[in-house]
């Protein structure tokens, strides 16, 4: 009994310590992010490459997913609203659900699955191959050269791709609502504008930036935890990705609380 309680306590302490370490690492990265000296030409080059790998390469797939998901979601939402006699809430649901919740979530999932796992594996491999030690030897700051461009790329990619996803979904919604529900362009735009709030959009963008930060920072953190053994690479990726999903859920819940609090005050 005592051993079991000790085990729970040990696990709890370990979880708290790990969370605090991750937060400390996050603050360290944040502090470096606002340091202008960190952005030399090499870092800028890595940043451009990371944005290219994270955002530009995924673009065709991402656009296709946005159009398909947009059509499906708008079709389902519209049908249900007509069925329930609540089609007046169509614009509100598009802005409140599709733009502020669905678009960031799908974007984050896609980027986390594609780039988060890649970054995690990349850092873990570098750790196993002792490339990080080599950087230390050459006095190259790993945070500036490796981590900062990837995290900045994650933030920028999520913010831009989420916004692009929302715009594409809303544009495809215009076509599909016209085809499926015989809704004119003017009615559609009026419904969207009536429901659109700048505060919601700003919260959405901030949420995207925070998610972008964590879905790259957490895999980097877990990649750094890899040992000298090759078998530690998949373990670090596994832990990293699980924690990324936990972080996404926590950020979603916190953002919902923040949005509801803001809407109470406004």
């Amino acid at each position: 009994m005592t051993t079991a309680i000790e085990q729970i306590g040990r696990s709890g302490l370990h979880a708290v310590r790990a969370s605090l370490d991750t937060l400390a690492f996050a603050f360290k990265i944040l502090a470096r992010m606002f340091d202008v000296r960190a952005y030399n030409s090499a870092v800028r080059m890595v940043l451009i490459n990371q944005i290219y790998f994270t955002s530009v390469q995924i673009l065709p797939l991402f656009l296709a997913v946005a159009v398909i998901f947009g059509a499906i979601v708008i079709g389902i939402i519209g049908q249900y609203l007509i069925h329930l006699g609540l089609f007046d809430y169509f614009g509100q649901l598009l802005m409140g659900f599709v733009v502020t919740e669905f678009a960031p979530f799908i974007t984050v999932l896609l980027i986390a699955l594609r780039s988060g796992s890649a970054v995690n594996a990349e850092i873990a491999v570098m750790k196993v191959n002792k490339e990080l030690n080599t950087l230390h030897v050459f006095r190259i700051d790993e945070i500036n050269y490796l981590f900062l461009p990837r995290i900045l790329s994650g933030i920028l990619s999520i913010v831009l791709l989420s916004s692009l996803f929302s715009i594409i979904v809303l544009a495809s919604g215009l076509i599909f609502s016209s085809l499926l529900f015989d809704m004119s362009m003017n009615d559609y735009v009026t419904a969207l504008l009536a429901s659109a709030k700048f505060s919601d959009l700003i919260v959405m963008l901030i949420k995207c930036a925070i998610m972008g930060f964590f879905i790259v920072m957490i895999p980097i953190r877990y990649g750094m935890r890899a040992t000298d053994e090759l078998t530690s690479i998949p373990v670090s990726v596994l832990h990293g990705m699980v924690n990324v999903f936990i972080a996404i859920m926590i950020i979603e819940v916190v953002s919902l609380i923040v949005v509801s609090s803001i809407s109470k005050f406004i």
């Binding site: 451009i48 831009l160 692009l164 715009i167 735009v189 504008l193 659109a196 700048f198």
Partner: protein
Amino acid sequence: MALKTEWKVGLFIVLTVLLILAGLGYMAYKKGFFQPENAYNLSSRTGDGLSVGMPLFFSGFKIGKIVELELSDKGMVMIKISVPTQHAKWMRSDSKFVLEKPLIGSPKFMVITTNLKSSLLSANSVAVLTEVNDINDAIQKIQPILEQVAMITDNIERLTGSLADPEGDMSKILNHTQKLTGSLSSKKSILEMAVGDEKSVQAIHASLRNAQNITDQVGQLLKKTDEELYGKNGIIPLVIKILRELVTNLGKIGKTLDNVEKISSDTAESTKDLKLFRSEVDSTVNSLNRLINELDKKIPFKSEQKIKLP
């Protein structure tokens, strides 16, 4: 390759940012963020229900919002509202500003303009905000009902008190009812209870029996009368037979009368001919008379006047 990557990334960032800005700009334009606004001042007795950013409605449409709330030196709440220029036409000098506090839901701030020909509301003037409180109205409407309910409960209380009081009206009624039911249980019938005397009851029974005999006799009499009237050899069938024969005979008489009528019309025609003949004979006789007179005048020697008629 590096240049190509940079170009692609740059294009992606620029296009996406432009799209986002265009979307936000369009939204801001449509929501009237770039429109010039007019400011107006209102005063209110209380700031309860008012808040900065609260929308101003006209005919159900949002046309402005509260931008500032402050307390004046006289203790009045000064409200500054902002209305886009395109909606300024609804703000007239005789417009009424109302804060409606519904029974359920949040307060609604609105302007009511009935006369669009009156002058525009000046930015320097201070209009008065009227408060329409559904809760207070509801309480005022409920107040008389509550008073009536209170009266009813008082009456109920008096009734229950009267019921509980052994000397009360209800107790007296119950006592009388008890006596009545006791008396009813000691009598043989309700009739005896009503008349109070057994001999009288027997007399009524005898009368009823006599009445029954009389009705029996009347029944027999009616049966006999019915037989004589409506029986096989009764009066009514005989009358019906006579009437039928009469109808047949009347039919025959009708035909005869028709013939007579025809004959009489023929006779009338003949009479017309006779009259003509008569007039002709009359004229002939007159002519002959005139001829004879002429002959008498011309032949005086003839002793015997003879005229040969045609």
